[in-house]
């Protein structure tokens, strides 16, 4: 009866019927909940006994899926996996009664059990999440089914559900990043557009390195990517269809060069910088009608525009005050309001998907920082510091920021890093070569 459901991977997610597991009555204990508001100091310990192979030959896949789920959770810095060597017992089978006392004894606060069945090129993953100290299951058990080549996505989906149930916030593991893959020395750098899973797996290249490519930006649905290309000999904006990898140049307002594009949330408009006579201003182009609107008009450099999630405002950088600073204006242009007032220079602002914060690059005293501030410029918080950090992008849940880092000197190299918005958990993202200008796509369906 499940075989039908196994055929389509996307969105095949069904609640399992109760398998008759005896649920231990909840004790007088706060339900399991990790509140992220002020940052978590101590990671939540969880146990994840390797998922069981329900069908002979599924053992490797079961081990791989278990590993990726654990890596996702550990990678947040909010969860900490308990070594299996300290387990007192393991469940006899998926759905067998849980000996909560055995898990409490090793201080596992969450327990994740699961089973994997591989049939030909089809795989089914089932899992359950338990709140050990309450002795109760957290939410229903779920099943994901699809083709075996989607096994990493299924693992990410399990981890997203666990993350979401424990933190009360949406996950971000089943998402992709488009970025610029970099190879070669500093004075002969080859750049290609690449797309990968959020954790650096499954890298695919979208362009060759025959022309410089810069700063790709996903649409909100992840179906298209805007980027800057020197294919024509001059910087111009291309629109790339992710499914077909077909690309075409965006017809902008007339100008010498165009760069720094971003989609509106509905994907119908593009805001970008246009250079005319050496002067850089911000424009908007409606993709359906081709109508162009000039949004800024000063002799200063206005660039790096980013829409608020509700589409009503645009944050951007301008050096009209003499140095790069951040400004917010109406999506239709008009008088902007300066929001950055600290020491140093502020650039590349990006509105968070929740709408509450703006991430930016800050330059001060020869160092670069990635930081966040509220949308009115208050509560500035620097998250990183290095020789050169730049180009932040938000995880779809607004909890994590990815950015590019370049090291100093003649042998300087580039890499992608991620950091929690609390400033904790700085990590290098594993990519096959150097990387810059990441853009984090949406949570996939």
């Amino acid at each position: 009866m499940m075989t039908k459901l196994m055929t389509a991977f996307a969105a095949t997610m069904i609640a399992l019927v109760s398998l008759g597991a005896a649920v231990v009555p909840a004790q007088a204990q706060e339900p399991l909940r990790l509140t992220l508001r002020d940052g978590v100091i101590e990671a939540l310990p969880f146990a994840l006994p390797s998922f069981q192979a329900e069908v002979a030959g599924s053992e490797q896949m079961a081990a791989d899926i278990s590993r990726v789920i654990a890596e996702d959770l550990n990678g947040t810095g909010l969860f900490r996996q308990i070594q299996s060597s300290s387990f007192i017992s393991t469940p006899a089978g998926f759905g067998s009664p849980i000996e909560f006392a055995d898990w409490r004894a090793i201080n596992a606060q969450a327990l994740i059990t699961g089973a994997v069945a591989v049939n030909g090129n089809q795989v089914t993953v089932k899992f359950r999440l338990y709140d050990v100290f309450s002795g109760a299951e957290m939410g229903e058990g779920l099943q994901f089914a699809g083709t075996t080549d989607g096994w990493r996505r299924m693992s990410h989906k399990v981890a997203d559900v666990v993350y979401s149930r424990v933190t009360g916030e949406a996950g971000y593991f089943d998402s992709r990043i488009v970025y610029v893959a970099e190879t070669g020395p500093k004075n002969d750098r080859a750049k290609r557009l690449a797309i990968m899973d959020y954790d650096g797996a499954n890298v695919q290249y979208l362009t060759d390195s025959s022309a410089i490519v810069l700063a790709p930006r996903f649409s909100a649905t992840g179906d298209r990517v805007l980027y800057t290309s020197y294919e024509s000999g001059f910087p111009r904006i291309n629109v790339l269809d992710v499914a077909t990898v077909g690309r075409q140049q965006l017809t902008t307002a007339p100008g010498d060069m165009a760069f720094s594009p971003r989609f509106s949330l509905d994907g119908r408009q593009v805001i970008y910088s246009l250079i005319n006579g050496g002067n850089t201003d911000i424009y908007r182009t409606d993709l359906a009608t081709g109508q162009n609107t000039r949004l800024t008009n000063t002799p200063a450099i206005e660039t790096a525009p980013s829409f608020s999630p509700d589409g009503s405002q645009i944050v951007f950088e301008s050096d009209r005050s003499g140095t790069q600073q951040l400004y917010v204006m109406s999506a239709n242009g008009g008088e902007p309001q300066r929001i950055s007032f600290g020491n140093g220079r502020y650039g590349t602002p990006v509105w968070s998907p929740r709408g509450d914060l703006i991430a930016f690059t800050k330059q001060e005293a020869g160092r670069f920082h990635i930081g966040v501030m509220r949308t009115d410029g208050t509560e500035e918080r620097l998250l990183t510091s290095s020789f050169l950090d730049e180009g932040p992008t938000w995880a779809p849940n607004g909890r994590v920021i990815m950015f590019g880092r370049e090291t100093q000197g003649a042998d300087g190299t580039t890499a992608l890093y991620s950091v929690d918005i609390t400033g904790r958990n700085l990590r290098r993202v594993s990519t096959p070569q150097g990387g810059s200008d990441p853009s984090w796509g949406p949570l996939q369906r």
Binding site: A215, P235, M257, G278, T303, D319, Q324, T348, A410
Partner: protein
Amino acid sequence: MKHFIKAALVIGALSLSACTNADRFDNADAVDLNAQNGLNAANDINQTGLGGANDPASPQFFSQTIGDRVLFEVDTSTLTAAGRATLDGQAGWLATNSDYLAVIEGHADEQGTREYNLALGARRANAVREYLVSKGLAASRIRTVSYGKERPLEVCSAESCYAQNRRAVTIISIGQNS
């Protein structure tokens, strides 16, 4: 015929310097070339096609003797006195060699965000373009492009390198006056 020779010179210079450096009329490359020509003088059949640095109408003369680039102070696009002197030479050369077109490449050092540096490189390229136009050159002969910090010439992370990277380079080519 005259055009054909010039075109051959340009193509030769392009293909040779392109092997080692993205910056097409890089001085260091040109010096290497001359040295090689000296060593291989006996059997290098192409030598006469390349040794144009003494020919005032040659691209080599433009890039080496006049100077194809001007440098800028940190975060500025204001032409220096030395820069203006170089551009006076460029303007004179382009006025004489009226079948050449120019593309001005603006560049920035690595200190700064990518977008800002792209815009800054455009300011620098435009400052050169405006100066050349003010010296009487037709605006239609001069285009600008900015590479921001994407094409550094020198790779160290120190002012000695940054100073060379904050530049605007005039790239000349035989034009199709269309």
